[in-house]
């Protein structure tokens, strides 16, 4: 019989209570009638089957009934329903968006087979500030030869090139890679073939694999593209394959992949670090084991080639860890804020549901009196709350679909994943989970609370809903929680907003107003001779300078903040230093007039001039920090430095430029005149970024400038056209997206907290109308009543503020690494946040308080 009682538990409680005894009696009677093991067994089977079929059906019946009832009651109170659904939608939507992005960047496996086994390998030069430095080709080949931890080890480097053969010449980003890159990643070509190791051999046909996007946009998605011959930087290449649509390696922009061919000098030079290493760990080999092995190899290489490799380690990191620590911090901070939002939304929802449930106490008491069990009441209210959460979840998810692309800027470009997380099943399941938790956790509490009080007492004439001390305490606690969470968000948002402002206030070292920039990459080998390049520059620049509205124009290798690398060791005053410990500087080639165009101040000496050409004395202009480092307080003019295979004489000193971005320290800068480099040397640095200072709106000049470039060489593609101010804004893009999202969350949180406080007080006032009436009848003035209500509201806010301040102090500490130029415990920030909370408390209290003063004592007592 015990088994049968257990079976009975499967039924809804109300059904058990009603029919359980009868059913047990029937079963007992049949049990008596069954003789022998066979009828007994069939009786048991029958009973089990009976319960398994009918119990879920009964639960479903009840659910359908409750949902219908919920829909009906919600329709009767549309204002409440709308408010509750909206609040739930805010919380769920915010959580879905941020966790969607965080999941996309930080958690979800990368889109490669067995992504956990993919690692990146770097030269670890922490001793001079570069824990993840690219590797030199000979070192990489030694790693590959000596290591046993990897199934495959490939190398690549990002580059850009001009493609001719599909209409207009096209400037594209892509990569050159060893033939086993695709095999290492485990991704085959979608059409044709990928690169193979046979393609790496000298003398092999030059082949090209293109991205799916390039294939569809430029080659019309024709299968005849395979075998087509195109010019990549003037070299004929045959297209042999098309990669699948979402193959974003090494970055989202990658449009082509060509074989990496190393020439003799590249195979020799161990101090030119420019390759990225990527490996696939052998099955069963752990990251720790691979690191240990690579450490050993690093020690061997340091012994074998001390000049280049001394103190060089090898860093092995999983591909996922490529995401910078900052991006991580930013996303986690946002996820935390979203969680706060959800928490506030939920407490608000709970408070709202509680007050509604209390308002329905009489209805519930009637139903209880009519025989509805407590379980039925709880169950029905819970269903109602789940319906609200469900509607909110649907609305929130819909909003998330719209909002996710807006925060896509938070997805780092360095990660080989699509730009924005699709709204897929995974995200929907997450959202559904949040919805269920919201509905269950915050729906159960009010339901239980009310069902407990749904007794005959609720029917008593004059019984007032919601006056229960315990319930009011609970709601008050919820309000305190909302205020404190709002304060935390306010403080964090204020700190990050200030940081953003400080970053934007940082002087980049040049003046961005009215400057147009674009890239005109020069195809090689046509432009390998320095002379031919200079002719092109001079013609473009003189054409551009004659365009009305142009003040000045010049060329540089790379705009600051666009290319942050290009760092070389420097030898000063002929002191021979080993390349590992030498100081470094960033190298740029420019044409005359660059500093004037950018308004980089020329502090002493002269700008480059027409006489700085091949054959003349090699000259350089350095930044002030370069002088400060090597000759502090002394005159630098005429001093000699060696860098990038050249002995240079300093002829000028200019202001520092934030090459690496506004928030980071940049290496000192060294500029060379582009006209002085030897033919075919430093081709990577050949100036390609054109900067034009204008008198008016820079973008208005684009057509004229395009024409000016085309008249110099129609084969040169023009790309990346944008004002210089955009370049600098891009540097803070992720930060400002984060701040905007956080500010939006904070605003919503504060509004919700105000609404929560208001609804609690309004409810208290209406529940205590009689008490207030009595007080007034006994002589309490309106001012006194006003004070009574206001004090209650402000007291709650004060408690919330106190708790929130403590939390905020902790949260700000955790946020520290994201702050810039702001102390995490900056008192004014806290005071301002507390001020906002006080304002919110006032705003939330004043209406209910005023209403309390308008209570008519006679009316309220007559109602008794």
């Amino acid at each position: 019989m015990r088994w049968y009682h257990a079976l009975l538990r499967l039924y809804p409680q109300s059904f058990q209570a009603e029919y359980g005894d009868e059913m047990a009696a029937i079963f007992a009677a049949r049990l008596r009638g069954a003789a022998g093991w066979q009828p007994l067994l069939s009786l048991w089977l029958e009973a089990t089957l009976d319960a398994v079929v009918n119990a879920p059906a009964l639960h479903a019946d009840l659910l359908a009934q409750d949902v219908r009832l919920a829909a009906r009651t919600l329709r009767r109170t549309p204002a409440f329903a709308a408010a509750a659904v909206l609040i739930a939608a805010l919380g769920i939507g915010a959580t879905t968006v941020t966790f969607g992005v965080a999941d996309h960047v930080l958690i979800r496996p990368l889109p490669f087979p067995d992504p956990d086994r993919l690692v990146k390998l770097y030269q670890d030069q922490t001793f001079r500030g570069y824990p993840r430095m690219e590797v030199s080709p000979p070192n990489f080949l030694d790693w590959k030869r000596d290591s046993r931890s990897f199934e495959r080890l490939a190398a690549y480097t990002a580059q850009s090139a001009t493609l001719v053969g599909a209409g207009e010449p096209l400037r594209m980003n892509g990569a050159i890679a060893t033939g086993d890159l695709f095999a290492t990643l485990g991704v085959p070509a979608a059409l044709g073939r990928g690169l193979t190791t046979a393609d790496d051999r000298d003398g092999a046909e030059r082949v090209l694999v293109i991205s799916h996007r390039l294939w569809t946009t430029q080659f019309g998605g024709q299968s005849s593209t395979i075998g087509q011959s195109v010019l990549l930087d003037d070299n004929p290449h045959v297209i042999v394959g098309v990669m699948p649509p979402h193959f974003n390696f090494p970055s989202r922009e990658a449009a082509y992949w060509a074989p990496l061919r190393l020439n003799a000098s590249q195979l020799e030079d161990r101090t030119n670090w420019w390759l990225h290493g990527i490996g696939r760990l052998k099955t069963g080999v752990t990251l720790t084991e691979a690191r240990a092995e690579m450490n050993t190899i690093a020690v061997q290489l340091a012994q074998a080639y001390p000049a280049a490799n001394e103190r060089n380690g090898i860093a092995v990191v999983t591909l996922r860890d490529e995401v910078s620590w900052r991006s991580r911090q930013m996303l986690w901070a946002l996820a935390g804020a979203a969680l706060c939002m959800l928490l506030i939304a939920c407490t608000n929802l709970a408070s709202l549901l509680l007050s509604r449930a209390l308002g329905r106490q009489r209805e519930l008491a009637v139903r209880a009196a009519l025989g509805a069990g407590r379980e039925r009441l709880v169950r029905q209210m819970l269903t109602e709350n789940l319906v609200i959460a469900g509607l909110g979840g649907a609305l929130g998810s819909a909003a998330a679909v719209v909002a996710v692309p807006l925060v896509a800027r938070l997805v780092p470009t360095t990660l080989p994943v699509p730009e924005s997380p699709g709204m897929d099943l995974r995200l929907l399941i997450g959202s559904l989970g949040v919805t269920l938790v919201t509905g269950l956790v915050f729906g159960t509490m009010p339901a239980l609370k009310v069902a407990a009080t749904a007794t005959l007492a609720g029917l008593r004439e004059g019984a007032r809903a919601g006056t229960g001390r315990a319930t009011e305490r609970l709601r008050s606690a919820l309000v305190v929680a909302e205020v404190s969470i709002s304060l935390v968000l306010l403080v964090c948002a204020a700190l990050l907003v200030q940081s953003l402002w400080r970053v934007q206030d940082v002087n980049p070292g040049f003046d961005t107003t009215g400057v147009l920039t674009m890239r005109t990459a020069l195809p090689v080998p046509k432009y390998e001779p320095t002379q031919s390049r200079e002719r092109f520059y001079q013609q473009v620049l003189s054409n551009v300078r004659s365009v009305p509205g142009v003040a000045q124009a010049a060329y540089i290798s790379f705009l600051p903040m666009v290319m942050r690398g290009g760092i070389w060791p420097v030898t000063v005053d002929g002191r021979a230093e080993d390349p590992n410990s030498a100081h470094t500087a960033s190298l740029r080639l420019v044409t005359a007039g660059f500093f004037e165009t950018m308004r980089v101040p020329l502090l002493t000496g002269r700008d480059f001039q027409d006489r700085d050409v091949q054959g003349a004395q090699r000259v350089a202009i350095v930044s002030q920090s370069f002088v400060d480092r090597h000759w502090p307080g002394q005159d630098a003019l005429g001093r000699r430095v060696s860098m990038a295979f050249a002995d240079l004489t300093i002829v000028g000193v200019v202001g520092d430029v934030k090459v690496r971005g506004l928030e980071r320290d940049s290496e000192p800068q060294v500029y060379m005149p582009s006209a002085q480099v030897a033919d075919g040397s430093l081709m990577f640095y050949a100036p390609k970024d054109l900067v034009i200072r204008t008198h008016g709106a820079p973008m208005a000049l684009v057509p004229a400038v395009r024409a000016a470039v085309a008249s110099a060489d129609p084969q040169v593609p023009v790309s990346d056209i944008r004002p210089l101010s955009d370049v600098v804004e891009d540097d803070t893009a992720a930060r400002s997206v984060q701040v905007r999202v956080l500010a939006a969350f904070t605003a919503m949180a504060v509004a919700l907290a105000a609404a929560g406080l208001h609804s609690l007080l309004a409810f208290t006032v209406s529940a205590r109308t009689q008490e207030i009436g009595v007080r007034m009848a006994l002589g309490a003035t309106r001012a006194r009543i006003l004070r009574m209500v206001m004090v209650k509201g402000l007291a709650l806010a004060a408690m919330g503020t106190l708790a929130g301040s403590l939390l905020a102090i902790w949260a700000a500490g955790a946020l520290r690494s994201l702050l810039f130029g702001v102390d995490p415990w900056e008192p004014t920030v806290y005071l301002a946040a507390i001020g906002v909370c006080a304002g919110v408390a006032l705003a939330g209290s004043v209406l209910p308080a005023l209403r309390a003063t308008r209570v008519d004592p006679i009316e309220s007592l007559r109602a008794e």
């Binding site: 059904f15 009868e22 059913m23 029937i26 079963f27 029958e46 089957l49 009918n54």
Partner: protein
């Protein structure tokens, strides 16, 4: 109180409900008696499980096909048991269901699927 729906709106009736109505048409019965009666009536072919029985009874009470009645002391009734009685509405629903089934049988016969009266 709601207006009573037309009997046809409840058709087709689930077989368990039909059997219960047939059983109660002969007189008030408690749950176990219904199970035994249905089983006897169908030569043991239909044995209602307790869950099916009470789930049906619950539904039928809601639909006012049956009502619960006090045990009739004159009939030597078991006082601990709950007795049910078919309502006039329940009778008309059962009748409508029987007619529906009969017309189906008629159709089957017309198509030559069956030849003799079952």
């Amino acid at each position: 109180m709601d207006l009573q729906p037309v009997p046809e709106s409840l058709l087709p009736l689930p077989p368990a409900m039909f059997h219960i109505l047939l059983s109660l048409a002969e007189g008030d019965r408690h749950g176990y008696a219904i199970i035994q009666d249905v089983s006897a009536r169908t030569d043991g072919e239909v044995t209602l499980g307790a869950g099916t029985l009470y789930r049906s009874i619950q539904r039928m009470l809601e639909q006012e096909l049956i009502i619960e009645v006090a045990p009739d002391p004159s009939e030597n009734a078991d006082e601990r048991r709950r007795y049910y009685r078919v309502t006039p509405f329940g009778r008309s629903v059962a009748r409508a269901e029987a007619e529906r089934l009969a017309s189906l049988v008629k159709l089957a016969r017309a198509s030559g699927l069956i030849t003799r009266k079952a």
